[in-house]
């Protein structure tokens, strides 16, 4: 690590830290419905939505009603995204005449976008029309993020209110989240990105005259699109000469802005934020990286404001940060080295100072690629600016581990914090057992119902990840998608199901994810990973909200002390490490030993 690397990392963390308080406070105002300086512009829009959609803003919901509203909204969203993809041929703005997206891929993309996962089995620039990108993907980037935040706010109300069943109104929370928080931030970010060179237009794909002709062999296909092979089974190719480069266009900036802010991560282009039109300069990279962490980090402060004890919010923030920093540092160190297998090649000496550059872009370098990898997997964002598949084993292990900590280190917008609150409930329970007292959190007694629900939420993820990975590794359909041999192939399958189940969306992208097996099984893993956690969370909210506030006494465990932060960190790490260590040992750890062990 050079001096400049340290400056860049510190700058990033400082700016993030400075924004946590103002944005966190603003979001608390919005969700508590307090009057705010933007009301004059946005209030009329909000009122119009309520009127047009028959939303009664004063109507409170109990946890079941809140869950039903969320599920209904997600179901309708799935159907819409699915239908738009299937019918894109008949819809406008399809300048490149893309065909209907296949059934299994449409299903996978639909569930992946409504759950805030944004797993990318599709290749944007050659599959999806502008209309699909905008009305299916961009829309769900807003809606899935907002509904995740709504579930969090319901849980916070469960802690904050007492002796009632009212958790607020799902529609109001979602509408306010979109109108007051996501849209204004997205507009600002999109404009800044365009200023850096992210494209934003509705033109057809453009042609440029190449400086140097490109000669290549193109595989020949018959009229059904199948490759023609000779008698030995090798594909027949024909020589072609290219004089022009076709460059894709589109409304990119508007989608990239929200995909970064809403921890969505599904790219406009296949290469995601490594693509120069999604992320052209180091400054655009900085902005996008900041957007990844911004809302999840600020929500910790929102929590503190809403429970009327800011130190509680900072305690959670600190716990997350203290897990994030060392793991991030490990990835940075790993990627600052050149792959020893390459150094061993005796044909030439290699200038090593720029680190592991396979799958990375020159403008970002090893540092910004590794920093992004840590940020995008600690949160449930999943966008990439470098190919994680080509990271060195340790560099790739950390993102995989971040994902399998359950996306609680900042995590998805809303979902990260509500899952962290589940870990907190487990932590006060464990601590309570140690001293033999009924555990409580912020004055609410934690009893068997909450613990049952919390266990539900925590245990389902490893179960789904490991079972699906096992299925992927013992079946032919699962194995045939693997791109890299040996231990790395196992990591690819493990990463795929970890990413989908935890609603992250990044990949060891060598794996061919666009197959019936991965689209369908992965689609169900995505759904379970979102709703099997969100619904128990709402159930806990519904139970907590009915309880009295117990006044704190000398025997109460304070939850804003270094001691508590320490226990919380240990619980998160122990659960994350114990469940997945055997799987990691077979994948990235073996690979690390293969490279550095002798």
């Amino acid at each position: 690590m050079t001096e400049n690397s340290i400056i860049q990392v510190l700058f990033y963390l400082t700016v993030l830290l400075l924004l946590v308080k103002p944005l966190g406070l603003y979001m608390a105002w919005i969700y508590e419905g307090q009057p705010c300086f933007v009301d004059r512009v946005l209030k009329p829009i909000e009122r119009t939505i309520y009127r047009l959609c028959f939303i009664k803003p004063e109507q409170e919901m109990n946890w079941k009603e809140y869950s039903i509203a969320m599920l209904v909204f997600s179901l309708l969203g799935t159907l819409a995204v699915y239908a738009i993809q299937r019918f894109q041929v008949f819809l406008p703005l399809n300048s490149e005449h893309f065909a209907a997206v296949p059934l299994d891929l449409s299903f996978n993309t639909a569930v992946s976008f409504i759950t805030n996962t944004n797993w990318q089995a599709y290749t944007g620039e050659s599959t999806l029309s502008y209309f699909t990108q905008m009305t299916a993907l961009t829309v769900q980037n807003f809606l899935s993020a907002a509904s995740g935040m709504s579930v969090l706010i319901a849980l916070i109300r469960g802690i904050q209110r007492r002796e009632t069943t009212d958790l607020g109104n799902f529609w109001v929370d979602t509408v306010r989240g979109i109108i007051y928080i996501l849209i204004p931030l997205a507009i600002v970010l999109a404009l800044l990105l365009v200023s850096q060179g992210v494209i934003q237009n509705f033109k057809g794909y453009q042609k440029a005259k190449l400086m140097q002709k490109v000669e290549y062999q193109e595989p020949m296909t018959d009229n059904t699109g199948q490759a023609i092979k000779d008698t030995a089974g090798n594909p027949i190719t024909q020589a072609k000469v290219l004089t022009e480069q076709v460059i894709p266009m589109g409304p990119v900036a508007s989608q990239v802005a929200i995909k970064q802010l809403g921890t969505n991560g599904g790219g406009f282009f296949n290469a995601n934020s490594a693509h120069p039109f999604e992320n052209p300069t180091p400054f655009s990279n900085f902005l996008e990286m900041l957007a990844i962490m911004l809302i999840p980090a600020a929500l910790c402060y929102t929590f503190g404001v809403m429970v009327k004890d800011k130190s509680q919010g900072w305690a959670i923030f600190l716990a997350m940060l203290l897990i994030f920093l060392p793991l991030m540092f490990l990835t940075l160190c790993a990627e600052h080295r050149v792959n020893p297998e390459i150094i061993k090649i005796s044909d030439a000496q290699i200038l090593q100072k720029n680190g592991n550059m396979e799958g990375k872009e020159t403008r970002f370098g090893a540092l910004n690629s590794a920093l992004w990898a840590a940020a995008t997997t600690a949160t449930a964002n999943g966008s990439v600016n470098a190919m994680h598949d080509s990271f060195l084993p340790l560099g790739g292990l950390i993102p995989l581990w971040f994902i399998n900590l359950g996306e609680v280190i900042f995590g998805g917008v809303g979902s990260g914090l509500y899952q962290m609150l589940i870990f907190i409930i487990i932590t006060v329970f464990v601590s309570g057992l140690m001293v033999g007292r009924t555990p409580e959190y912020l004055g609410k007694k934690i009893e068997s119902y909450e613990i049952k629900m919390a266990s539900f939420a925590i245990l389902i993820m490893p179960l789904v990840v490991l079972l699906c990975t096992a299925v992927g590794l013992i079946t032919e359909v699962g194995k045939s998608s693997i791109a890299n041999p040996g231990a790395h192939g196992l990591s690819e399958v493990l990463y795929a199901f970890s990413s989908m189940t935890n609603n992250n969306g990044s990949a060891f992208a060598g794996i061919n994810a666009n197959t019936l097996f991965y689209n369908i099984l992965g689609g169900f893993a995505i759904l379970i990973g979102r709703f099997w956690i969100a619904i128990p969370v709402l159930a806990i909210a519904g139970s907590l909200v009915q309880k009295k506030i117990v006044p704190s006494s000398a025997g109460t465990l304070p939850t804003n002390t270094p001691l508590f932060i320490g226990i919380l960190i240990s619980i998160v790490l122990i659960i994350g490490a114990l469940t997945f260590f055997p799987a990691f040992a077979l994948g990235p750890i073996v690979e690390q030993l293969m490279i550095y062990g002798y």
Partner: protein, 194 residues
């Protein structure tokens, strides 16, 4: 309960419709309008016009294999390098033998084009970029190729080195990202000046 679920479907359907229009149409259209107004060159792809020809985008790399030009990063796009319609990295894992043989191929190409150059090879010239469209190489990667270009174009080495110095893009604001050189711009300048 039945009535409640029905009412939620009604609200859900209407608000989905409303937000599809607001965030799926109005928002991208508004951004396009603002972008075209304020940053029209960037919003349209930062194309480089040279003698009335669109020769490419500043941000989308092109494939160079001719020894008289500077070469960019190796590209993993298929079926040919720098295919802007199929952005992609190689996704080769660190222990994959295919990665090692790909690196070896690049070393051979560089050596074949200039057998006299025994300088250490910058890693960017041997590894495939994340997008397959990386428009840049590092300063060192340009320096490494200078002697080849000078020899083939029959110009003094110093001349080429000065051109490289002129084309270097520093870290943004002095500290962000990495210093780099735009290959397409460098080659255009090369044809223009040498």
């Amino acid at each position: 309960m039945k009535n409640y679920i029905f009412s939620q479907f009604k609200i859900g359907f209407l608000s989905l419709l409303f937000f599809t229009i607001l965030t799926g149409l109005i928002y991208p259209l508004l951004m396009t309008g603002l972008a075209q107004l304020l940053f029209s060159i960037q919003a349209n792809g930062s194309f480089i016009i040279n003698h009335q020809n669109t020769v490419g985008s500043e941000f989308i790399g092109q494939y160079f294999s001719d020894p008289k030009y500077f070469w960019g990063r190796p590209s993993a796009t298929s079926p040919y390098s720098y295919n802007a319609l199929a952005s992609s990295g190689s996704n080769l894992g660190p222990t994959n033998p295919a990665l090692i043989s790909a690196v070896k191929t690049e070393i051979e190409k560089l050596h074949a084009a200039n057998p006299d150059n025994s300088d250490p090879i910058p890693i960017e010239l041997l590894t495939q970029s994340g997008s397959g469209l990386d428009p840049h190489i590092s300063y060192e990667a340009a320096q490494y190729q200078a002697s080849r270009i000078a020899k083939i174009r029959n110009v003094p080495l110093n001349h080429i080195k000065q051109l490289i110095e002129k084309m270097i893009e520093k870290r943004q604001f002095g500290f962000l990202g990495e210093p780099r050189i735009n290959v397409l711009k460098l080659n255009l300048a090369l044809d223009e000046e040498v």
